[in-house]
């Protein structure tokens, strides 16, 4: 009970401190607000779009008496209505011209269907091969085209098996050769392959979340980054109250009262954890109300917030346990938390939330795992996806806590 009294007293002092309030709430929201205003001209109805990529398509397939013109079927599939938004197809007569178009950047991709394309379906030993040439400066567009072509060819693999089996039956006399074309058509119709009914690529956001506007996709990670960065500052600053009270004499005075040392320590730890939890909760709610930022599923957001709060609190306790006095804390907090914060959140600060400019380096910092957890949460990840990140943070927290508390206990024993 006394530990709760100590925790509430500490929290009252923290929330009365103008500087603490600035660092806890005002600055994170202010920085995010600046970005919000800077990018305020991005309209919510500017839905994410992919620019259609230019494709030079060469069909050299000469066809096959048994399987028909499968090259043309592929051309038709790629020119289907469902893919018009993704690909702008130009039919080219020969392979050299298509390659030149890519070299001259008149096309992003060239697809060359070989002469024996249809034949490869009747020859069970032959491979189905298509030549794919892409502009090396492009990444996303060619990947989309390659994915579509692979999807079509996967369907063709089924046709090839159908043809091979039909040929075997024809050779054994149980089927007329003329019937093979009909069987292939039937197979294609059953699988709805090449039809316009089913789009090849379906772009959608998670069904449980409303669609995010492009501005929020930009501002959201910045708010998350600010929240993590300052939560770790709050953790350290709250834990610093142990040193402050030592210097003010109130910690010694507490030890002269009939209060056990472990209870005092517990109160200090509660105050650090509760302060960070209040900060994170307020920031998440404020960001939701002011900027409309979506934090993902409630359970996932709750787990992420809890893991971040625990990591920030215990990291603060660890840092403080290595300090001699509050004079050192300004330099150490400013330096160490900025470095670990920047490393951990490099993806956000470089404007590349999904990428990893420094590889696995961010994962050596608790802020790195916190960033992963919160970004995944904002993308709508379920609690099972967040759990591994949270577990890593909890494991780190146990280490921070054990070392920090052991050092503080021996110091004030």
């Amino acid at each position: 009970m006394k530990s709760l009294t100590i925790a509430l007293n500490d929290m009252r002092r923290s929330f009365r401190n103008t500087f603490a309030l600035l660092f806890m709430f005002v600055i994170p929201l202010l920085v995010t607000g600046m970005f919000f205003v800077m990018f305020g001209n991005i309209k919510d109805n500017d839905a994410p779009t992919l620019t259609a990529i230019k494709v030079a398509l060469v069909n050299l397939d000469s066809g096959n008496a048994q399987t028909g013109q499968l090259g043309q079927t592929l051309v038709d599939a790629l020119q289907s209505e469902g893919l018009k938004d993704l690909m702008e197809i130009t039919l080219v007569e020969d392979a050299a011209a298509a390659r030149e178009m890519v070299d001259a950047q008149q096309a992003g991709v060239a697809i060359i269907i070989p002469e024996n394309f249809s034949d490869s379906f009747s020859d069970t030993a032959a491979k189905i091969e298509i030549e794919f040439i892409q502009d090396p400066t492009l990444t996303l567009g060619p990947q989309v085209v390659r994915s579509v072509v692979n999807q079509v060819l996967d369907g063709y693999a089924g046709i090839k098996i159908t043809v091979a089996e039909s040929l075997k039956m024809a050779e054994s006399g149980t089927l007329h050769y003329e019937e093979i074309n009909r069987i292939v058509d039937e197979y294609m119709s059953v699988t709805e392959f090449s039809s316009d009914k089913t789009p090849m690529i379906d772009l959608r956001t998670p069904a449980t979340l409303p669609e995010r506007s492009p501005m929020l996709a930009l501002v959201g990670p910045i708010m998350a980054g600010m929240m993590i960065f300052y939560a770790f500052f709050t953790g350290a600053n709250s834990a610093n109250s142990i040193l402050r009270e030592d210097e003010e004499g109130t910690l010694q005075r507490m030890l002269t009262t009939p209060t056990a040392q472990t209870e005092i320590m517990r109160g200090k730890i509660y105050s650090v954890g509760l302060t960070v939890i209040v900060q994170i909760t307020v920031l998440m709610l404020a960001a939701r109300l002011i900027f409309g930022i979506q934090w993902g599923l409630l359970t996932s957001a709750g787990l992420s917030a809890l893991a971040i709060a625990v990591a920030a609190s215990t990291f603060g306790i660890l840092l403080v346990s290595f300090l001699k006095n509050t004079k050192q804390s300004g330099v150490i907090f400013g330096g160490l938390l900025t470095v670990t914060g920047m490393l951990g959140m490099v993806n956000i600060f470089t404007g590349n939330p999904q990428g990893a400019p420094l590889g696995i380096v961010p994962l050596f910092t608790p802020q790195g795992w916190a960033t992963r957890a919160i970004l995944a949460t904002m993308d709508g990840a379920a609690v099972e996806t967040i759990l591994p990140f949270a577990l890593v943070m909890f494991a780190m927290s146990i280490l921070f806590f054990v070392v920090g508390v052991a050092r503080l206990k021996s110091r004030f024993a």
Partner: protein, 321 residues
């Protein structure tokens, strides 16, 4: 009668690069309702002793069982929480939350002392009244004067109505009016039956307040008795304090050899002597000075007091020790 405070054989050495023996075998007893003062110069070991009596420091020999601290019979070493509930500690420096009001401070500390519910409200109101800050109870401590802070600092230690109260140099750095108010408060506590352990380096305070005084020097208690009995230690000796128009060291040897001078100590610009009979010794001191062509610029003769006792026991003036 069971002593309110029993202290036996405390030892404390600080090892911080070099070894410093701060307390060396301190033992004493304080009777219930008594004001007991620890008097000594800065660095004598008073605060270290109080820290051990408050459970902030452990005596070096506590593990071996050769030391003991008992408050109303409860051992601070084996039953720390029960013993601490019986004491109130007024630290030397202000130990309050400056960003909280006096009332908020008192409520917090009342909870730390284990008070609950309506008891907290009642005691906080009584203490605010006692320290004369009811009207300004809701102002932040940071806005208070030094004297007001001192009063709240004392008030905190009275919240749980302790049997024994420790006051570690509570009048350091405050104005004479606040000092008077604190000294009157200490006497009032005694009148209410409270036992007070008071540390000071002001002999006037110890002399005015104390039933008994322990004089500390270099971590040891060198005398422990009532004021009157301590004065008897120096017998009929008188303290003479002289200033000269030259370096004090010039007259150390000539005056030390004068008949009737028992002790001599240099205190900054003054030379302090303990003499058997000032009427006989003073002419000899003037003669010796004249022989060296040195002029005596001031003479002060004091009847025996605690300063004289300290000079007699240590060979040094209390202020200079």
């Amino acid at each position: 009668m069971q002593p309110a405070l029993l202290v036996q054989n405390l030892h404390k050495t600080f090892r911080n690069g070099h070894s410093l023996k701060a307390v060396d075998g301190v033992s004493f007893e304080v009777n219930p309702g008594e004001i007991f003062s620890l008097l000594g110069p800065n660095g004598a070991g008073k605060t270290t002793t109080i820290s051990m009596l408050s459970a902030l420091l452990k005596p070096d020999n506590s593990a071996t069982g050769t030391s003991d601290i008992r408050i109303m019979g409860r051992s601070l070493i084996t039953e720390p929480l029960a013993a601490k509930a019986l004491i109130g500690v007024v630290p030397q420096d202000i130990a309050l939350y400056q960003d909280l009001s006096a009332r908020e401070n008192l409520v917090f500390w009342a909870k730390m002392y284990g008070l609950k519910g309506a008891q907290i409200k009642t005691r906080v109101a009584e203490v605010l009244d006692l320290i004369g800050l009811t009207d300004r109870a809701n102002e932040r401590i940071s806005k208070y004067s030094g004297g007001m802070k001192r009063r709240v600092n004392i008030g905190v230690a009275l919240l749980h109505q302790p049997k024994v109260i420790y006051m570690d140099e509570p009048t350091v750095g405050i104005d004479p009016q606040s000092r008077r108010s604190i000294l009157d408060g200490v006497i009032a506590l005694k009148n209410q039956g409270m036992t007070v352990l008071y540390t000071t380096h002001y002999m006037e305070e110890a002399q005015e307040l104390s039933d008994r005084i322990a004089i500390m020097d270099h971590g040891k208690i060198i005398a422990n008795d009532s004021h009157e009995n301590l004065i008897h230690l120096v017998g009929q000796k008188t303290r003479i304090s002289l200033s000269i128009n030259a370096e004090p060291e010039t007259m150390v040897e000539p005056w030390k050899n004068c008949k009737g001078v028992s002790t001599l100590a240099v205190d900054e610009s003054k030379i302090n002597l303990l003499v058997d009979d000032s009427n006989l010794v003073l002419p000899r001191l003037f003669e010796a000075a004249a022989a060296k062509a040195i002029r005596i610029t001031s003479v002060e003769i004091q009847e025996p007091n605690l300063e004289t006792v300290f000079l007699h026991l240590t060979g040094r003036a209390l202020r200079d020790a």
